[in-house]
């Protein structure tokens, strides 16, 4: 199983029927592929849709129905549409149960940087700052390292997305939570040791009472 699949499958297990969930682009989008068919989760696209469905079949795309990346999607039965003020009222107002976003860096306190690399990548924060600040639960889907460099760092060197810490970090190696502002290792992926996770992380990790194996 590749890194992205491990991350997406593990995060899918965090979602429950009836939740309102906002998925960011990249690995987070893949999470929707691993939701059991008999569970109804309401996916929000922040451009104004609850009830976002799969990519339409060839020739069935509606030009005025897209996700927040501008890609054609479908609206499931029971979907609703709204303007951007309402959409971000849902986000900032704590009505979104879970947001799953990508990350550039997460630090030992759970602070996230995921929207710019000064001098290199300045795409704008879009909805990321509102999502991390306002969603009830923030889950970050991120590869544990990039080009051999740790992305779970002592302190973020890139500009922060929010002063609100994230709730859960899921990588292809581990699941890490941040109780009391401390990065705490909860699970390791099948075949991955605690030591491997430690050495791939710059942040110091506390260990949960039991470090379980990641269920996929």
């Amino acid at each position: 199983m590749d890194a992205q699949t491990i991350i997406a499958r593990r995060i899918a297990r965090e979602l429950r029927g009836g939740m309102l969930v906002n998925l960011g682009i990249g690995i987070p989008t893949l999470v929707a592929n691993y939701i059991s068919r008999d569970v109804q989760i309401f996916f929000q696209s922040e451009n104004g849709l609850i009830g976002t469905g799969p990519i339409p079949e060839q020739g069935m795309a509606h030009p005025l129905l897209t996700d927040a990346g501008g890609r054609p999607v479908t609206a499931l039965p029971g979907a609703s549409t709204f303007d951007s003020a309402m959409s971000f009222g849902l986000i900032r107002g704590g009505h979104v149960d879970v947001t799953v976003l990508g990350g550039l860096q997460v630090d030992s306190r759970g602070l996230l940087a995921n929207w710019m690399i000064p001098g290199k990548m300045v795409p704008g924060m879009g909805g990321a700052m509102d999502l991390v600040t306002g969603a009830k639960r923030v889950i970050i889907a991120m590869q544990h390292t990039a080009k051999g460099k740790a992305k779970l760092v002592k302190q973020c060197t890139l500009p922060l997305t929010s002063s609100r810490p994230i709730d859960l970090l899921v990588t292809e190696l581990a699941v890490i939570a941040f109780p009391d502002g401390r990065a705490t290792l909860r699970e390791t992926a099948p075949g991955v040791t605690v030591e491997q996770v430690m050495s791939a992380s710059e942040a110091k990790l506390a260990l949960a009472d039991t470090v379980a194996q990641m269920q996929l």
Partner: protein, 215 residues
């Protein structure tokens, strides 16, 4: 409200004007009005919008031709031309969190001086802004935004200018309709008065100054 030819509507927009333009990655943007801005070669525009779409599409067409001096948007990641003009200093770009941007516009249209938001506290977005503590929580004071013109796109309009929207093409459109001195609405279909049920009107006719058919 006046129904006008698109050329006449756009002729009222002077160079240097501040425009709010509806659309999200080009979905729900008034393409016909944008094409006419290009044809009339407007310049030094300030554009307030969610994003600048992509080259050749929606607001991207204005960026392609260097017609925009300043952009206030939340995301420019899918338009490399916007990033290029920002980096080489040809265009000023103010990046604003999306929820803050739409609330600043809403405040501008709703008669508020601004909004208090937790978004951006403790980040670079807070630089130079006033922080206020209320009931133990920190908020940024974000000032209201208004424009000279709002350029929006609707799915249906009646001949009075009542508007309704479809699917994800609604986005910024009904919000900017409130926040500009002059509102120009383009509609995909113009239908007889009474055909849009009162409950389905999201922008009441009195907010629309000029109506243009997309036909």
């Amino acid at each position: 409200m006046k129904t006008v030819d698109v050329a006449e509507a756009v002729a009222r927009i002077p160079n240097g004007a501040t425009l709010m333009i509806g659309g999200f990655m080009g979905i729900g943007s008034p393409e016909r009005v944008i094409d006419e801005l290009v044809r009339q070669q407007k310049r030094d525009l300030t554009v307030i919008a969610n994003d600048t779409a992509m080259p050749g599409r929606g607001i991207g067409k204005l960026i392609d031709r260097g017609m925009v001096a300043r952009t206030i948007a939340s995301h420019i990641g899918l338009n490399p031309e916007t990033q290029r003009q920002m980096i080489n200093g040809r265009m000023q770009v103010d990046l604003v969190p999306q929820g803050t941007l739409i609330e600043r516009i809403r405040a501008g249209g709703f008669g508020l001086g601004g909004v208090l938001t937790p978004t951006g506290v403790g980040t670079v977005v807070a630089e130079g802004k006033q922080l206020i503590k209320l009931d133990g929580r920190s908020y940024l004071i974000e000032k209201a935004l208004r424009a000279d013109f709002a350029l929006l796109n609707a799915f249906l309009a009646d001949y009075l200018g009542n508007l309704s929207y479809v699917l994800t093409a609604r986005n910024f459109n009904p919000v900017i309709a409130m926040a500009a001195d002059t509102t120009i609405a383009a509609a995909d279909h113009i239908v007889p008065v009474g055909l849009i049920a009162p409950d389905h009107v999201l922008t009441p006719a009195t907010l629309v100054d000029y109506l243009v058919a997309n036909g």
